[in-house]
Amino acid sequence: MAALCEEFTLCGLIASAGAGAGQGILGLEPGPDPDRVLLTDRGRTATLYKVSDQKPLGCWSVKQDQTITCPAVCNFETGEYIAVHDDKVLRIWKDEDVNLDKVFRATLTADVYRIHSVPHTEPLVLFKGGAVRTLDALLAAPQQEIENVISDEVIRWSEAFMETQQPVLIFTTEKNGNYFVYVQKVNPNILHKYKLEQEESFHPLSFTAYTKNKILTLLCLYSNGCVYKLLMSLQQRVPEEEQILSKSLLLKMVVSDTVLKGASLAILDKDHVAVLGCLDSPPNIAKECLSIWNTKFQTLQTSKELPQGTSGQLWCYGEKFFLTHGKVLTVIVYKCETSSLATAVGKLKDTQTSGMRTVSSYVNWNTLQEEDLASPHAQQSVAAKTESKRTVSFRDVFPLLSLQELRQFLSNAQMSDFQATVGYIITGLVNRCKTEPTFYPRHCLVQLIQTQGLSYSLCPDLMAVALDKTDVHLLQLCLQQFPDVPEAVTCACLKSFLSISDDSLQGTNVNLDSVISFIDITPNDQVEKQTETVQNGFSSALMEEDSCDIQLTQKPHVVDTEELCPVGPQKAALLNAILHSAYSETFLLPHLKDLSAQQVILFLRYLQFLYIKCSEKVSTDFPGMLSPTINQIMDWMCLLLDAHFTVVVMLPEAKGLLFSLHKFVRAQVRFCSELNKIEGSLQELQRIKHQKDFGLYSIEMLELV
């Protein structure tokens, strides 16, 4: 994943003679070492900066009436700096030189466009006429005749590379809206000329190029926001006739109707490009921003708005962007990792590992497809594969492992397709689980359920399988996600949950969101809870008030059992999932009868605990989406008592429970009736108050006695 890191200011840009900061600078070239850059402004000055220290190391100016016309470059071989002023005068100096007036000077016979300095070779001088000379050849005979290669075309951009120890220079020219590309190899001197396909409404804004395997790739940013790729072979020895280059779309950045302005393009690595530009779509205000795009997946990796405006110039040396932002030259450090699908969709976890990272996590699906590996990934792939024949699109799906990938893939498809596909996958998986007792892709099932596109009817056997395996987490998810769990299954789940011991649930990754509001899930839950403020009329003293038969010594014990949750947090969360599920009383009651007496008592105690906890709050509801509401608790309590009343009444251990429940409910009822009285009085007050409005005129009766 590519990212923009810190940003700092290298230097301020003074609006130098004749050119405001808005026009940017003449050039920024790499210095003798990676941490140094050579900045040439549009006036008379070239400055060498140390980037990490943000300070200038040296500054050289030409005389008052002279202007530097070609950005100063560093000759990597000799460590000298080369610049051209007044188009024709070449200056070469060293670090220790102070006065540019006194350094080596050579006057040439033709105007220089740029000097390109490439490591391990002699700098190349590109003349405005299109001729190219190496610097040493030029210095040997400064007054030599320079031929004019391009007739009346204007050079727009140029770049130099080393390809197989040979310097190659590429430059583009424009004439009447036609763009030409020249590729000049110096040793031996071969010039290729290409013509760019003409585009009616759009024109190229920025070029950038790289070479690889003797193929020169030119990327070209057009004003419609598209980046096109043009390939040129460097192996052609013989100059041919002018060829027309066909371009292929590499990246489309913007929607239609927007026009890109003042943009420039930089290549970061083989999959990433950086674009600096100003998107101008009429209703919005033009925003300049720097963005990094992944060309492989056509995704925007990161972007940064540059509110103070730029000159549209972007340089990129050594993982740093250099751009003029407002009145300063800003350096933005970026990171760009080799992209994989995993990183593109955010699946790759460890992005901070060393350079090895990109390789290790890249899974080759082609090989996996063939082999039947024992890993769950492979199993799943195979399982998916077996089912793939059912749907046309499934073939495309199956090499993808993670759900997000699947989602990404299906994001183009219609929703019904998506659901059906997921349904097919899960049915396949479940079928296989049933036939193969050892096969149980838990992780994958969880992820599939989390798509929220599933329902019980789509995969009727899933919950049965999960019950078989006592996969409580999956069951919890199913109960929470499926809108149509049958009452029988709900009851089976309930039974299963109640029978699992709390210890065995300790390690499971049950979602505890629904219990954190009322159970302290930290290990030492022996916190003093007596000091809690009691609201909503709840008072344990109130419950005791009319039961003199209970001795005072028993009181602390009673309080304890009421305040401590009878089940562990995991089990509580599972039971909450049950409370939350939809049911119909008539269908639920017969199944509820299946519970054993112990289970009923346990569940009842938990419900009582919830009820008391609930009533302590003013809102009588626990916060959170998944927490049970007081109505759900009451309904389940009534249902449970309905189903098992005869049993519960007979059980000695249930007696105390029922007794305290009864007392609490009675206290609540009393409290509610008091509230009702207050409500009645308040309503009466309101009625009296309402009477006060009489309008502008009324006839009333008044009796004075």
Binding site: F694, G695, L696, Y697, S698, I699, E700, M701, L702, E703, L704, V705
Partner: protein, 687 residues
């Protein structure tokens, strides 16, 4: 005992005007108050805060400053650029004098009361000499840049502190030069570019200048050195006005958020000689800008754009929790703005520039106490009479039969003949109404609608014969024997047309015999202002209420107080009655129940049953709800003379129609509040 159909009227859209400035005179214990519509009111604190005098407003007059000078003379100045003296006897502007300095923002009288300093738009401070019956321009102090928003005399009379925009200046009166110039910091919070208007200044005798400004701060300055002593931010908007107590130990500040703050000069330590100004008490009685404050010896007085005058007694100056220690709020005038044509069931509402005539609705059903009856005929707005010219209407009346409407502005009396016939209304102006030499202060039609009584200056009452169809006779004048200088402001005529009672500004009540057209007698003088007068239709007893809540009954034929009245004086009125807040503003009678007197103030109306025993302080005054729960028999034992109904509030008018139904005119405060502009936004807790 008394069952009424009550026409509960809320369609009188009366809007009191906001209070612009106040001036308190400690000498006469009076408060002069100017409203935004130019009206002037004088409250007499000694007479239980009764609104003793009123001068109607004027479209073009806007009073920005009021001051008492040279004894009890009242001067006002406003944005018209004129300085006026008010004639408080004749209730009008005595004269106006152009200040020649553009709009006048501030005015203050020097401590001796012989000079007026006037702060003008053009930046000048002008001094006027107060002469016995005029004022005369004396000189100008050095003119400076920036309008003079506020000024204050040093108690010695040698210096004047002047508040302008962004600065304060101190002038030496003798030389006329500015001797100190103090820049007032603009920013407390908010924009520095907003200029800082010094809305109010006060010059203390120790040379300290107190200023309050539009930034919301109250600052204390050393006038000698020109340095800032203390800054107290009181408001996030403006601190509009301030006033200092006579002892200079307390300051009251009004802000545009409606809050009033008190600052007190308190010793920094117990027993220490060094003392410091401390903001002590905040009061929030207003919802809108408090444009005017005054500091009496015992109370903070504030008036705001929400038209409320609030008198907040200072508890530390009060002895015990007495009647005087209660907070007073005045929203409604102590004058009658509604007249009722009892026979025709019409109501006439008086607005500053127009009159509205309404016919009451009717119902065909009956009910018991508390029922709201279905209205079979809705009330009807019959007529709107607009007064021409910039002067506001000062009084109005409708005859009992509803066929004559009279109103008066400061300069003219208008009389209209109205015909209301099955739904169609026609109104005809009566031509050739005799011109009054002075304004009418009260109008009243006789019971048989044949004459109009016009209360006038110097105790005089003019009588105008009303002639059918729509004419009037010549003016006849009744004058008291005593030759009072004060204007008559209350009138009452007897039902048989024989007697006319008139109460004047000197609180003298004269009774005239209309049959002989001469003064009949004078009611024994009482030391408190008369708030309402009425003559009983059967017994011809004159009932008088005073601002100290006393009720007297005076028999006109016998020229003496009646036995009942003497009994009341002997027994004393109930404490609850005496401690009521607002004066009785209207008295009426029930012809079917001669023993009943119907009275009302803003918060209650009362049937005073003379046949029943007077309550003593031990029995509750308000006993209606208790009585209603008792049996018929038990009631007799508990009933007392005052039958008070507080169901309808605030009351502007109560009258009994001829057919026996009651009209109450209410003006809910909420209705007034909704008409006010939105107040300064304030963060309230919990909103």
């Amino acid at each position: 005992m008394g069952e009424f159909q009550v026409h509960r009227v809320r369609f009188f859209a009366y809007m009191p005007a906001g209070i612009r400035c106040v001036a308190h005179s400690a000498r006469s214990a009076r408060l002069a108050l100017a409203r935004t519509d130019g009206a002037l009111e004088v409250y007499n604190f000694a007479a239980n805060y009764f609104q003793e005098k009123g001068i109607p407003g004027h479209e073009t007059r806007s009073t920005e400053a009021l001051c008492w000078a040279a004894g009890d003379r009242l001067f006002g100045a406003g944005l018209g650029g004129d300085i006026s003296e008010y004639d408080l006897e004749k209730l009008r502007v005595k004269y106006s004098l152009d200040g020649f300095g553009g709009p006048i923002w501030s005015m203050a009288a020097d401590p001796s009361g012989t000079q007026l300093a006037v702060g003008c738009e053009d930046g000048s401070v002008k001094l006027f000499q107060v002469l016995p019956d005029k004022i005369q321009f004396e000189r100008s102090l050095d003119r400076q840049k920036g309008r003079v928003m506020s000024l204050s005399w040093h108690p010695s009379g040698t210096r004047i502190a002047v508040g302008s925009i962004d600065l304060l200046r101190v002038f030496d009166v003798k030389s006329g030069h500015a001797i100190q110039r103090i820049l007032v910091d603009r920013r407390l919070q908010g924009l520095y570019s907003c200029e800082c208007v010094v809305w109010s200044v006060a010059f203390l005798s120790d040379g300290t200048i107190v200023s309050s400004d539009s930034v919301g701060k109250v600052q204390f300055w050393d006038s000698e050195k020109g340095t800032l002593l203390e800054t107290h931010p009181v408001s996030s908007s403006a601190a509009l006005c301030l006033a200092v107590s006579e002892e200079e130990d307390s300051i009251v500040v009004g802000t545009s958020e409606g809050a009033v703050y008190q600052f007190q000069l308190l010793p920094v330590k117990w027993g220490s000689a060094e003392s410091k100004w401390v903001r002590t008490k905040p009061f929030q009685h207003h919802t809108h800008d408090v444009r005017a404050v005054a500091h009496s010896a015992t109370a903070l007085i504030s008036g705001g754009l929400d038209a409320q005058l609030v008198i907040r007694p200072l508890m530390e100056k009060m002895h015990g929790k007495g009647y005087d220690a209660a907070l007073r709020k005045f929203t409604f005038p102590h004058r009658r703005l509604v007249s009722c044509a009892k026979k025709a069931g019409l109501l006439l509402f008086q607005f500053p520039q127009h009159l509205e005539l309404w016919r009451l609705g009717a119902t065909s059903s009956a009910g018991k106490d508390g029922d709201i009856l279905p209205v079979s005929r809705a009330p009807e707005h019959l007529l709107q009479l607009k007064s021409k010219g910039p002067e506001h209407i000062c009084c109005s009346c409708i005859s009992l039969c509803g066929s004559w409407i009279a109103y008066s502005t400061a300069s003219r009396l208008h009389l209209h003949r109205v015909h209301v016939e099955n739904g169609s209304v026609s109104v005809k102006r009566v031509p050739k109404v005799p011109k009054l030499l002075c304004s009418a202060h009260q109008l009243l039609c006789s019971a048989d609608s044949t004459s109009l009584f016009v209360a006038s200056d110097q105790g005089a009452v003019h009588v105008l014969k009303l002639l059918e169809p729509g004419g009037c006779g010549p003016l006849q004048t009744l004058r008291p024997n005593s030759g009072s200088p004060e204007a008559v402001y209350l009138l009452a005529a007897s039902a048989d047309g024989d007697w006319l009672a008139a109460a004047g500004g000197d609180w003298e009540v004269n009774v005239y015999s209309l049959r002989h057209f001469k003064p009949h007698c004078t009611v024994p003088a009482y030391h408190c202002a008369v708030t309402a007068l009425a003559i009983h239709p059967v017994t011809n007893n004159l009932v008088i209420t005073h601002s100290d809540q006393q009720v007297f009954e005076f028999s006109i034929p016998d020229r003496e107080y009646t036995t009942w009245s003497r009994k009341v004086q002997q027994h004393g009125l109930h404490r609850g009655w005496l401690e009521r807040d607002t004066p009785i503003t209207h008295i009426t009678f029930n012809p079917n129940q001669p023993a009943h007197i119907l009275l009302h103030d803003t918060h209650m109306f009362c049937i005073l049953d003379k046949s029943l025993p007077l309550p003593d302080d031990a029995t509750p005054l308000m006993n209606q709800t208790a009585l209603k729960q008792l049996s018929e028999k038990a009631r007799r034992g508990h009933a007392h003379a005052f039958k008070i109904c507080k169901k309808y509030q605030p009351l502007l008018f109560v009258d009994l129609l001829e057919e026996g139904s009651l009209v109450v005119v209410e003006r809910p405060l909420m209705d007034i509040k909704t008409q006010l502009p939105p107040p300064v936004q304030q963060k309230k807790f919990g909103t």
